[in-house]
């Protein structure tokens, strides 16, 4: 007991002696995280400041009386409701329509008897995952312009051809459908491998019991991949309020902000294009805090339900 501080020193010394190489190896990693993850977190203080780059984060004066002026401005503004609503709408509709798509694709691929055909289809379905967003969005814009192939196809059903990205009511559909198109194949990989892990004897006994193909799907296949489905669902829910800016920036235009502008694109415009540092950091912080709470919640839930977590 008397030698407590001495023994702590000894423990440290022993640790360093034994692992100095390992610490030296991890040093650049630690420096990276400090410089590029934790230093920006310190930059969050800007949200409470009237920031000027010359004065720096610390030197800039607090904004308003309590430093909360940026938040007061944001919550009181017309845009608060709009970008919150758009974020929720785009995220939820991506989830509702997008989440089942890879599961259905995997189930149907699983029914394909010809192995070669199955593999080829699968490989082709991943392709959009590897194409740049710039190109994908460029193609979307061409295809939904008034002479674009998608617009013209809709015209066959009596739809008046117009530039679909010029009308705010179509943006959510374009966003969600193109997400499904680009992500469906890649996301199905996980379910396919879960499917291949199902014990074939279960199918055998189901057949002996007289179960048809559809009944086998309901009673054997779906229960067999339900754990994977739950895990993926919880992970998706964890990023519910996290709608990325890259794709939207590439697709939207001023005319459709009404449905296309989300929190992250708003932050991008106000912060990086207009230079309203404090205000945009405040909006970004609002989003980060919500994300943090949501992801923590669903991570807990997932650990409880499926014994799986992000960490």
């Amino acid at each position: 007991m008397k030698k407590k501080s001495g023994s702590l020193g000894n423990v440290l010394k022993k640790d360093m002696k034994r692992y100095w190489q390992a610490y030296l190896m991890v040093l650049p990693v630690v420096v990276f995280y400090l410089l590029f993850s934790y230093k920006p977190m310190y930059g969050i203080l800007i949200a409470f400041k009237d920031y000027s780059p010359a004065a720096g984060v610390w030197g800039s004066p607090w904004v308003g009386r309590h430093g909360m002026q940026n938040f007061i401005d944001f919550f009181g503004s017309y845009y608060f409701r709009r970008i919150l609503k758009n974020t929720v709408v785009l995220s939820l509709s991506s989830l509702v329509f997008g989440f089942p798509a890879p599961i259905i694709l995997a189930l149907l691929l699983n029914e394909v008897k010809n192995e070669r055909f199955k593999r080829v289809t699968q490989t082709i379905s991943y392709l959009p995952h590897f194409i740049s967003l710039v190109v994908i969005c460029g193609m979307i814009k061409m295809f939904v312009a008034n002479t674009g192939i998608i617009t013209q196809f809709l015209g066959l059903f009596g739809f008046q051809p117009t530039n679909l990205l010029g009308k705010s009511q179509y943006f959510p559909a374009i966003y969600v459908l193109s997400n499904i198109w680009a992500g469906m194949g890649w996301d199905s990989i996980l379910y396919l491998s879960a499917l291949s892990g199902i014990d074939q004897d279960l199918y055998e006994s189901a057949r002996i019991d007289g179960a048809g193909r559809w009944q086998q799907t309901i009673h054997v296949t779906l229960p067999g991949i339900s754990a994977t489905i739950i895990i993926m669902l919880l992970m998706r829910l964890g990023s519910l309020m996290n709608v990325g800016y890259e794709k939207i920036i590439l697709l939207y235009n001023e005319g459709i902000y009404e449905t296309a502008d989300v929190i992250s694109t708003f932050v991008y415009r106000y912060g990086l294009l207009n230079g309203q540092w404090g205000y945009s950091v405040a909006v970004g912080l609002f989003n980060s805090v919500i994300n943090f709470i949501i992801i923590l919640f669903f991570n807990r839930l997932s650990r409880k339900l499926a014994d799986v977590s992000l960490w």
């Binding site: 650049p28 990693v29 410089l35 977190m41 149907l108 990989i189």
Partner: protein, 281 residues
């Protein structure tokens, strides 16, 4: 039995439909890029073949553009140097997280994992890069993202799968930590490292946003940003515009072709990659 055959038929048709919607957009763009510009801008159907008279004029224009060539060069630099650094840094981090003994292991692990839950956000990250003097430098596209935390966790999982007995016996033979990482663990994790190369490499090839906020000098622009700036320009219905439309098609082809060419060679690693990512860290 009849019902079964009908299902198989419909299912096959559905798969053909999937193949069609995945491939046709790219096919359409390639065909359009060789078509007659005057006709293509008014053409509204499915393109099975370029519209006559065929032309390669759009490609001449694209390759005569100095920004395309410098774009390729910049992208290649970021791709090669960036992926190399990504790989080394991610390996160093992943290796440390597999060690059991170090006192600060838990603290460092927490420090890394926490960043998956919370970040400073876009604007502080941007100001940080400026403060560090990386603005208007290609290093701004490499250094701030040199470790992807998800990738680090994936790699850690793979490293942890290397039999402990191998590591222990190397330790007894007096191997140092760098030797254990680079001589024993890394060679046994080749497949996952290949997946890392694909993930980071594709990421570099496709990225444009960082360049759009960190670079001012257009000679430094990577390919995707050059393409983006061209595609961004809205077309009107003049002759010049239909020409510009052609160039857009050709640009898409030129910037996507390399991915399509190497795609078949890499695809065997894809499934493995997702699987590795799915396993709990």
């Amino acid at each position: 039995m009849k019902k079964r055959n009908l299902f198989d038929l419909l299912n096959t048709l559905f798969m053909l439909f999937i193949i069609f919607i995945m491939l046709y957009p790219f096919y359409h763009v390639v065909m359009a890029s060789f078509s007659d510009p005057a006709r293509i801008s008014y053409y509204t159907g499915i393109l099975l073949w370029p519209l006559k008279p065929y032309t390669t004029e759009a490609y001449r224009v694209v390759f005569a553009n100095p920004l395309i060539l410098s774009g390729y060069r910049n992208t290649l630099f970021v791709l090669i140097v960036g992926t190399g650094l990504n790989l080394i840094m991610t390996m160093l981090g992943a290796y440390f997280l597999t060690l059991k003994g170090p006192l600060f292991k838990n603290a460092i692990t927490f420090m890394i994992i926490f960043t998956m839950y919370f970040s400073g956000g876009l604007v502080p990250a941007y100001l940080n890069v400026r403060d560090l003097g990386l603005y208007n430098s290609l290093w701004a596209l490499i250094v701030p993202g040199v470790i992807g935390t998800t990738n680090l966790i994936i790699l850690r999982t793979a490293f942890a799968g290397v039999p402990e007995s191998l590591v222990d016996s190397a330790m007894l033979d007096g191997a140092s930590h760098p030797q254990i990482l680079f001589r024993i663990i890394a060679p046994l994790s080749k497949a996952t490292l290949a997946v890392m190369v694909i993930y980071y490499g594709v990421g570099h090839w496709n990225s444009w946003f960082g360049a759009s906020i960190y670079l001012q000098n257009s000679k430094l622009f990577p390919l995707q940003l050059v393409v983006r700036n061209f595609l961004q320009e809205a077309g009107s219905q003049s002759d010049m515009a239909s020409y510009a439309e052609m160039i857009k098609y050709a640009m898409i082809v030129v910037s996507t072709a390399p991915v399509l060419v190497i795609y078949p060679f890499f695809q065997k690693y894809f499934t493995k990659g997702v699987m590795v990512g799915a396993i709990k860290g």
